[in-house]
């Protein structure tokens, strides 16, 4: 690891000071995964070389202090099981002089109440467009949803905060109550406008499965490969170097050839053309079925509100509240505990990460990555975007958040397909 650090120092020229994606992080995580080094020792080496990099440029010196200060505040995230929740589908638009608030669904649990909403401000005299921006974590403000007051059937009234993303024309996100309302309330009022909570979300089957046993080094690399980098496939050569140096892999291991073959054909972005059209046949599953449909744009349009909470697996608990399918892909709204914070020098080295796999009953696989999100080290609410698009003939979809030794399988009946066409939301 220190030899890699030495190369890093001498090769730093065009790379600049970028400790958040230091090759040493990948190297260290691989060694920790196989038990070749303790996280504290790996962290000490990374800190040494991070400082060594920092003192070699003015930019680095400025950033180093910030990075270290942030790391000082970082604490190991706690693993907490998410509580059962009641998810109620809605399709209600409340209009006033400021704009239109469309409520997609309401989620109620013992410790939180939130409304999935789309907000279209009143832009009288201004031309609308369909374009969506990418601002995140917008809270209140002149063009976002104004603060709303929620009331339940017990007479409890609470304020809300908005988080989400959007543009001048449209915002999508969540109104979260300052205090939880009664989870079994028959209705809620939004600034006096009543929504009867009569709908029921689709209930999904949830199971936890151990992953097939394989060499720890292989399992680690396959898992890393399923967690996209920024942008594009993850850089795994550093991990491979580390595992070979530690004696956990042989340089001529045939599995390495498979792993590199998959890496080489993965798209830089889910919507970009694949590099491996026609080259996927020789790949192992699930990668073969994932990569054999380059840029598929035949997915159905539709939304399903569902309620699924997993028990803890691999240190995580996951809840899913909706599935939205589009022509070029699909996404699920999730809550995850502990939080899915980004990779970087401030992240605990031993932190586990989830790979987001999905598969239909026909054996077509999909891979997801975190889109817009908000939260903390202990909890993340966000969107997982999957590619390629759903097959229109699929009847069931299993969302499979996958850890290093086990995974949850959340099986969702795709009711729009049974209705003979996409675009209509149904309740089971």
């Amino acid at each position: 690891m220190r030899v890699t650090g030495e190369k890093l120092i001498l090769d730093r020229g065009p790379r600049g000071y970028r400790p958040w994606d230091s090759p040493l992080l990948e190297y260290a995580r691989a060694l920790i995964a196989i038990g070749a080094i303790k996280p504290a020792r790996a962290r000490a080496v990374i800190d040494d070389y991070s400082l060594a990099e920092a003192v070699r440029s003015d930019e680095g010196r400025q950033h180093y202090g910030i990075a270290m200060a942030h790391r000082g505040r970082s604490r190991r995230s706690r693993s907490v099981a998410l509580k059962p929740r009641r998810v109620v589908p809605c399709d209600r638009t409340i209009e006033d002089a400021n704009g239109a608030l469309h409520v997609r669904h309401v989620t109620l649990s013992e410790d939180s109440t939130s409304l999935a909403v789309t907000w279209r401000p009143n832009l009288s005299g201004r031309r609308r467009s369909d374009g969506r921006g990418h601002m995140l974590a917008y809270v209140g403000g002149p063009r976002g949803p104004v603060q709303r007051t929620l009331t339940d059937d017990r007479g409890t009234s609470v304020g809300t905060g908005f988080s989400g993303g959007g543009s001048d024309e449209q915002w999508q996100g969540h109104l979260t109550a300052d205090q939880p309302l009664a989870p079994d309330t028959a209705w809620i009022e939004i600034d006096g406008e009543r929504l009867d909570l009569t709908g029921e979300a689709i209930t999904c089957e949830v199971t936890i499965e151990p992953l097939a046993e394989q060499r720890t080094a292989h399992a680690y690399l396959w898992h890393r490969l399923a967690i996209p980098g920024f942008p594009g496939p993850p850089e795994i050569e550093g991990s491979i170097d580390a595992l070979i140096a530690a004696g956990a892999l042989e340089p001529d291991d045939p599995v390495l050839t498979e792993i590199r073959a998959v890496r080489d054909v993965m798209p830089r972005h889910p919507r970009m053309p694949y590099g491996g059209r026609g080259r996927s046949r020789s790949l192992p599953e699930p990668w073969r079925s994932l990569l054999r449909r380059p840029g598929d744009h035949g997915g159905p349009d539709g939304t399903i509100t569902l309620s699924a909470v997993t028990p803890p697996f691999d240190g995580f608990s996951v809840a899913i509240s909706s599935l939205e399918s589009r022509a070029d892909g699909f996404s699920v709204e999730v809550d995850v505990a502990p939080g899915l914070v980004g990779r970087g020098p401030s992240r605990e080295l031993e932190s586990r990460e989830l790979a987001w796999w999905a598969a239909d009953e026909r054996g077509n696989h999909h891979l997801g990555q975190l889109g817009s999100w908000s939260g903390s080290e202990n909890h993340t609410s966000g969107e997982i975007n999957f590619w390629p698009a759903l097959r229109s003939k699929a009847r069931h979809l299993s969302i499979m958040p996958t850890g290093e030794v086990s995974r949850a399988v959340i099986t969702i009946p795709l009711v729009w397909a049974a209705a003979g066409g996409p675009g209509e939301e149904e309740s089971a």
């Binding site: 030899v3 030495e6 001498l10 400082l51 920092a54 070699r56 003015d58 200060a69």
Partner: protein, 274 residues
Amino acid sequence: MNEWWRGLAPAQASVDCGGARHQLRWENGALHALDHGDAESERTLAALGGQSCTCLDLIEAWERHHEDLRVFVLGSRGPMDILAVHGDAGAGLGGAQPRTVTRSSGWASYAPLGRVPRPPVRMSREARAEAELLALLGLGGGLPERLLATVAAAWRQRLRQSGRPPARSRAQLEAALYGRVLSVMRSWLGASGPEPRLRMIREKGGPKVVGEDGYVSIELPFGWLVDVWAQGLAIIWGRFCLAAHSADDQRTWRLTTIGPDLARPSVVTLQLGA
């Protein structure tokens, strides 16, 4: 410890000490404050007066870090590896803003000073050590290179005594040697040249460089850093120096060198004039 410093020229840097420019000079393996005749008395007076003395505190910092392996991680690997800490080391790093050296707190840094401010009251031991190191490595005038040589010599001595490096320090020693060998090899054979693969051998072992399939296999003792690298003899006449030995008078040096063709080593003799 033997007189490992023989052959190394003196080095000198100026620092701002109590509003005046003072000189720090390294010679014969030790750092001296040229403007402080009675160091102990001045140290006591400064402590009693609650004031700092940059020169003396830098010397204390030098003594604290003379075996610190982090010097190799932070310090330069060679002429192409330049640190950006000259003149104001410590500023903006690790949240600490050290501006001077004080005996009372034991923390140090290098900066041009007009007067002596009080140090931060709370500073972790690690942050203090880091600030001291950066202060020393920011001194200039050849002193950082002499600090690297000092640490290398201290560890070479340990290795000579024990025969093998302590398990917890082995990786750091190997990395210290590797980084500097890699830097030299890139200067010598070019950045796109064959990759060096280094094996750190015992101090009494015979160094060698062998060309293999696509890389250069190098076997060197850690002491190469003291005898060759720190002396500025790593490349001479376009040849890589494997080892350097001086005769008793320390004016004649016999260098075992190898050419870029990695064929048989040849001896180069250097002689310093009277």
